[in-house]
């Protein structure tokens, strides 16, 4: 087996291990801690009529909650391996189906937010490292710390205040049409944009100190060309490594953003599942999020050597 194949196999094995552990951690948190989902469900009863103990037992048996924990664990893990996370306690819907159904709108705002983050964060980093005006650099590099200090839900509400209620330009809620996407995308993308700006500015200023930049300068290449063609191309690579965290952030941010803008999606599904202690659904979402994180990081690790040949030779050596 070639060293590269061995590296890939090891990396994939680690990814599977992390997923299994994420499943186990979420199982321990959700099933071992106190709290009886069936009783909660019954107390929040649909028509207000309290359930009899026999009915409660029947419900427990139906969801397998009457069995010993280790049996439940084995049962659920076996199911999860086949992509089956059980049924939602709220309405009996298949957990995987519920997640898949809620996913498209969340992917939509996540991509829009990511695009916003890359464009705005990238611009801030480029201008801040390019400008010779000291005050402009100070202002621009202060923006990321300002952006991460503001609560995400508050930013969303303030945007609605100004652009929907104040100027009447954009819709405040809902998911109809591309205009409805703008404010949620900005809200969701802002913390990520701050991260992109910081990472990129740091690697850009490092790249600008490299000998090849001095060489280019000596050859008489213009500042803009040096910045965009030489430094940015090299500096963009390290920024790629934070993509895994970024995707996790976007997924988590969707919880708040979808609530603020009353949009359907995975975040809203999570909030409603937590509200009624829908344990299988919450666990499904947690494991799904971990899976996304693991897969994105795996992809980044696999793509990285292709983009940066130095890494590939390093792995083969």
């Amino acid at each position: 087996m070639s060293p590269m194949a061995r590296y890939l196999l090891r990396r994939a094995g680690m990814a599977v291990g992390v997923l299994w552990a994420a499943f186990t951690v979420s199982f321990v948190v959700l099933y071992l801690l106190p709290g009886d989902p069936v009783a909660t469900m019954a107390s929040g009863g649909l028509d207000g009529e309290p359930l009899t103990p026999e009915q409660l037992d029947a419900l427990r048996a139906r969801y397998g909650l009457d069995q010993p924990l280790i049996v439940q664990y084995g049962h659920r893990l076996w199911g999860a391996l086949h992509g089956d996370f059980g049924a939602s306690i709220q309405n009996g819907q298949d957990v995987r189906g519920a997640i898949m159904e809620a996913l498209p709108p969340t992917i939509q705002i996540s991509l829009a937010g990511l695009a916003f983050a890359i464009v705005v964060g990238g611009t801030v980093a480029l201008v801040a490292t390019y400008t010779r005006a000291h005050w402009l650099r100070q202002v621009l590099m202060g923006l990321p710390s300002l952006a991460v200090s503001m609560p995400v839900f508050w930013v969303g509400l303030m945007l609605v205040q100004v652009f929907s209620f104040g100027l009447g330009l954009l819709p405040s809620v809902g998911a109809n049409g591309p205009q409805a996407l703008i404010l949620p995308a900005i809200t969701l993308g802002l913390p990520t944009g701050a991260l992109v700006a910081q990472v990129l500015a740091k690697s850009l200023s490092q790249a600008l100190d490299e000998p090849y930049v001095a060489t280019a300068r000596a050859k008489g290449v213009g500042r803009v060309d040096i910045h965009l063609r030489h430094a940015l191309r090299n500096a963009a690579l390290p920024a790629l490594t934070v993509l895994g965290y970024v995707v996790g952030n976007l997924l988590a941010g969707a919880v708040v953003v979808e609530t603020v803008f009353t949009r359907p999606g995975l975040g809203r599904l999570t909030v409603s599942a937590v509200g009624v202690q829908d344990i299988p659904l919450v666990q499904g979402i947690v494991v799904f999020a971990a899976a996304v994180f693991v897969v994105v990081n795996l992809l980044v690790d696999l793509v990285y050597p292709l983009l940066d040949p130095r890494i590939a030779t390093g792995a083969a050596a």
Partner: protein
């Protein structure tokens, strides 16, 4: 939410090594003055955080009125001289509610950071000191915690524990155990190599004494810096969860739930959301500024 803000690692070994020559008290004060004089933003941050802490421990000193008592005739008044932050739909003074809200919100934040510090610190200490398979196992566990987005981890814990300020605090704390474990482990590994630990061992000091008397105090510096940073993040996380409605039940003035309440009146009364949110943002900004000052900036400014 944004755990991974890039932070410059401190260029010097740590606060313990900052002043090898014992400076007199006067010299230290002079240095502090020089440091602060060139950083007006830092002074503002320190003063603001001091005010927020005062609000958290003695809200009456800043806003003597009852936060839950409203004057219906004064409802929904815009910010002005009588009500600096305006009034809400029951005629309650928003400034008073924000000041009193600091208590609940900061208590939750302190609990969260304490949980993360103690649990994460112990994991890191154990992993770094014992090494071997214990280290391997604990750090794999920390990797898993990092793979689950913090908000979802907190929500899973709230699902299991139920609502309330304390549960929100624990949920936020557990979700940020991982970063403390990592920093503590790397500090412990560094200190293990030091001459004084070797010396302590060679004279036969028992391991738990070495751990408590030598490793722990010397690892404290970077961990405290992280704690200050995490404090800012925890304020944001706690207020998000209380905005979503998992915190204290309605009449209590938590920062996040104040904004959630104000949301219903946004079209007519902008200040109900704007003011508490600005208070959160200003607090987090100040805390982050202080954490940046502690993290190397002080040591670098000789």
């Amino acid at each position: 939410m944004t755990e991974l803000l890039v932070r410059e690692p401190a260029a010097v070994p740590g606060p313990g090594a900052v002043a090898p020559v014992a400076a007199t008290r006067r010299e230290r004060l002079a240095r502090l003055w020089r440091f602060l004089r060139r950083r007006p933003g830092l002074i503002v941050s320190v003063v603001f955080v001091a005010l927020v802490l005062l609000a958290a421990f003695a809200p009456g000193a800043l806003a003597p009125a009852d936060p839950n008592l409203g004057v219906p005739a004064d409802r929904l008044q815009a910010p002005g001289l009588a009500h600096v932050f305006g009034t809400d739909y029951l005629g309650r003074d928003v400034y008073t509610r924000v000041v009193h809200g600091a208590a609940l919100s900061l208590q939750a934040t302190v609990i969260a950071v304490a949980v993360a510090l103690v649990v994460g610190g112990l994991i890191g200490l154990l992993a770094g000191f014992v090494r071997g398979w214990v280290d391997e196992g604990l750090m794999r566990f920390v990797d898993v915690l990092l793979a689950i987005p913090a908000v979802l981890m907190s929500l899973a814990l709230i699902t299991a524990l139920g609502y309330g300020t304390a549960n929100v605090a624990i949920a936020v704390g557990v979700a940020s155990v991982a970063s403390f474990a990592r920093v503590m482990r790397s500090e412990t590994l560094r200190i293990r190599q030091s001459v004084y630990v070797e010396a302590a061992r060679s004279v036969g000091t028992r391991w738990h004494v070495t751990l408590l008397r030598h490793v722990l105090p010397n690892a404290a510096g970077p961990v405290v810096v992280l704690a200050v940073l995490e404090f800012g993040l925890a304020i944001l996380a706690v207020s998000s969860l209380s905005f979503l409605g998992y915190g204290a039940p309605p009449p209590a003035p938590e920062w996040g739930s104040l904004i959630a309440e104000g949301r219903n009146y946004m079209a007519t009364a902008w200040w109900l959301c704007a003011m508490p949110g600005a208070a959160i943002a200003a607090t987090v900004l100040s805390v982050n500024r202080i954490s940046r000052a502690l993290d190397g900036e002080w040591a670098r400014a000789r």
